[in-house]
């Protein structure tokens, strides 16, 4: 059995820190990499070693395979953990890493390839008897073909770039007129972001929930699932709140989904941490395979808190060749966990709003976990994801977890950049969130209004008074400076005195 001595983390921000923590706990030296924009990033400070890998844009640093491999060789690492995003699902990267005799922390190349192409993935799922959404059974090349499919399955549909992910490279078409521009946009986003312009069409399930199953495989053929996470609270197709268990699953459906996920994983001999994302129809309680992510997910902590399994540690153990530390019978869901993503963004328009953090004091206290990389004075760079921190709370039951989250958000002092903290608080008290019926349309429907509730939670006067007192002090200090200047008359007066 291998034992890693040193591991390079090909990522930044909170996930790089999360992995550094696992390394420390396992006695593995950690190597951070950073771009020019990240010299002052916390992951650099917390790692054992740190190397610059190039200019700020991701393409020239965190996506620069050659440079990262070069640093890995120089530092003499045994393994590379890609985190999520960036190179985590790039088979070329895995090949380059393994060609140097370094272990890639993640699934095999064939695992990634089979799931990276969403169309091929759908075909495999069909074979594993996992329910899939009706749509084009292959890539769509022309507008005419797209039109044909639509005639067959009806609107609305969703066009997806086969290589896409993370909310990029997908467009919903509700009216026929929207088809042409959506088709073009997906093709060009696919080409620009993922280097592949292949697109396909699926029936768009209106008002679904997003529920995913965490699975884990080892090199000995064992596969377990670690239950579900519901991630339906989304804006711009990106998750902002996740919880486990899902308030919408019955024990029977939960077992059915878990078993389907295991069938899929076993069919492709899956190794490591993976997630099967499902579209869930809350009315019919049907679920359809959407895609499989062959990496650690942002929201993995809620699974860690409800199952007690350290997913990053498990990833490293599996990569070293150990069998899974748990059997399916031993995996138990205990209590309830919620995660919110705190992002530097305008809570109304959701536009990223990078800038310098002024005050920053994270929530603490019982059953609260914070995975964050910001600190007072830190400048959130414009080049990367606006997520600054994840707050994860655990409770004996759902309402306890929610109350704990509300408490934690209230405790979070964060000034200097716009953030979605107040939006999160408003969401947590929304009736549809509280009764668990919320769907992926929840934010779009309830929070894209002119003057949202989030701005009504406080007396306007608090803002006016504080600004007025500050303006008063600013103005006064300016006057004092002016008074301190010796006036010309006084100077002339002094000269006259001297003459006499």
């Amino acid at each position: 059995m291998k034992k890693f001595k040193k591991l390079l983390i090909a990522n930044r921000g909170e996930i790089a820190i999360r992995i550094t923590r696992a390394c420390r706990e396992m006695g593995i030296q950690s190597v951070a990499v950073f771009s020019d924009a990240d010299r002052d990033s916390l992951h650099v400070f917390l790692s054992d070693e740190a190397y610059n890998i190039g200019p700020a844009p991701s393409k020239e640093s965190y996506l620069n395979i050659t440079k990262i491999i070069e640093v890995a060789k120089k530092a003499g690492v045994d393994a590379i953990h890609p985190g999520y995003g960036f190179l985590s699902e790039n088979p070329l990267f895995v090949k380059a890493v393994e060609a140097e005799g370094i272990t890639f922390i993640g699934p095999t190349i064939s695992n990634i390839e089979s799931m990276g192409d969403k169309l091929a993935a759908k075909a495999l799922m069909k074979k594993a008897q996992v329910p899939i959404v009706p749509g084009s059974d292959g890539p769509i090349e022309t507008l005419e073909e797209a039109q044909k499919i639509i005639n067959k399955i009806g609107l609305p549909v969703i066009i997806k770039a086969s290589a896409g992910g993370g909310g990029k490279g997908m467009r919903v078409v509700r009216k026929e007129q929207e088809l042409e521009s959506a088709f073009r946009a997906c093709r060009s986003e696919g080409t620009n972001y993922f280097g592949d312009g292949t697109v396909y069409i699926e029936k768009f399930v209106t008002d679904p929930k997003h529920i995913e199953i965490q699975i884990f495989g080892d090199k000995h053929g064992n596969v377990v699932h670690l239950f579900e996470r519901e991630c339906s609270v989304q804006r711009r197709h990106q998750k902002i709140i996740e919880e486990s268990p899902s308030p919408s699953l019955t024990p029977e459906i939960r077992i059915k989904m878990g078993e389907a996920a295991i069938r899929a994983a076993k069919l492709i001999n899956y190794v490591g941490a993976g997630t099967l994302e499902f579209i869930f129809d809350n009315q019919t309680k049907e679920f359809f395979f959407m895609e499989m992510n062959t990496r650690l997910q942002v929201e993995h902590p809620i699974t860690e808190l409800t199952t007690g399994v350290d997913l990053v540690r498990e990833q490293l153990m599996v990569a070293m060749g150990h069998p899974l530390s748990i059997t399916q019978d031993q995996v138990k869901q205990k209590g309830h966990a919620i995660e919110v993503r705190v992002c530097a963004e305008d809570p109304i328009t959701f536009k990223p709003s990078p800038g310098q953090i002024r005050a920053c004091s994270h929530p603490q206290g019982p059953f609260v976990r914070v995975d964050s990389y910001i600190y007072p004075g830190y400048e959130v760079p414009i080049y990367y994801d606006p997520m600054m921190a994840k707050i994860i709370t655990w409770g004996e039951n759902r309402s306890e977890a929610i109350l704990r989250m509300e408490r934690s958000l209230t405790e979070f002092i964060l000034t200097g950049v716009k953030s979605n903290i107040a939006l999160h608080k408003t969401i947590l008290s929304h009736p549809q969130f509280l009764d668990g019926t919320y769907t992926t349309q929840f934010i779009e429907r309830n929070f894209q209004v002119e003057e949202p509730e989030i701005f009504k939670i406080m007396d306007d006067k608090v803002f006016l008074i504080a600004a007025a007192i500050t303006a008063y002090q600013d103005r006064k200090s300016k006057d004092v400076r002016q008074l301190n200047l010796v006036s010309h008359w006084k100077k002339i007066g002094r000269k006259l005195m001297m003459r006499i």
Partner: protein, 173 residues
């Protein structure tokens, strides 16, 4: 000290008076009544980088970032951006607005102040940008110039006069 403010599309007049132990703040939302708020200085403290503000039984941690007329106030995970104009800025703004004088045929005082010197008399033809008078407001002398070519019809004030905001200073033909 007098300010005007804009927040969420609403306009406010604000007056701030500092005493040894209190902040006395008057706020008037445009079209509504003045409200007077007295804040004990022990309720508005800055022990850290940010302010601890105890207001009407609630405890707020507040951070104000201000530059020029733009202020952003952060508290309780929320924030608002607002505009604050102090006397100096209001004066500059009113001087800029005097560009409307050719249209309105009169020059008005944008701020309360004192007339220091007048350069024109009735019947004078004044070229654009020529000085008309000097007015002192808020400890500053401000030269008011012609926004366009015009002819003076009437000078409504004399040197040394104290004038209120909005009072007519000069009428034009």
């Amino acid at each position: 000290m007098y300010f005007e403010s804009e927040m969420n599309g609403k306009k406010y007049h604000i007056d701030v008076v500092e005493t040894k132990q209190h902040w006395k703040i008057s706020i008037q939302e445009e079209g509504k009544d003045w409200e007077f708020i007295e804040i004990n200085k022990t309720d508005y403290k800055k022990p850290e980088a940010y302010v601890s503000f105890l207001y009407e039984g609630s405890s707020y941690l507040v951070d104000v970032v201000g530059s020029d007329t733009d202020y952003t106030v952060f508290t309780r995970g929320s924030y608002r951006t607002l505009k604050i104009f102090n006397d100096e800025m209001l004066l500059h703004r009113s001087l800029k607005n005097s560009g409307s004088m050719s249209h309105e045929r009169e020059l008005k005082a944008g701020m309360p102040g004192k007339i220091i010197e007048i350069f024109v008399k009735p019947g004078d033809a004044i070229k654009h940008n020529k000085p008309i008078l000097i007015m002192e407001a808020m400890k500053m002398e401000n030269e008011m110039r012609a926004a366009a070519d015009c002819v003076v019809k009437e000078v409504c004030v004399k040197q040394g006069d104290s004038v209120d905001s909005g009072s007519v200073l000069i009428r034009f033909e």
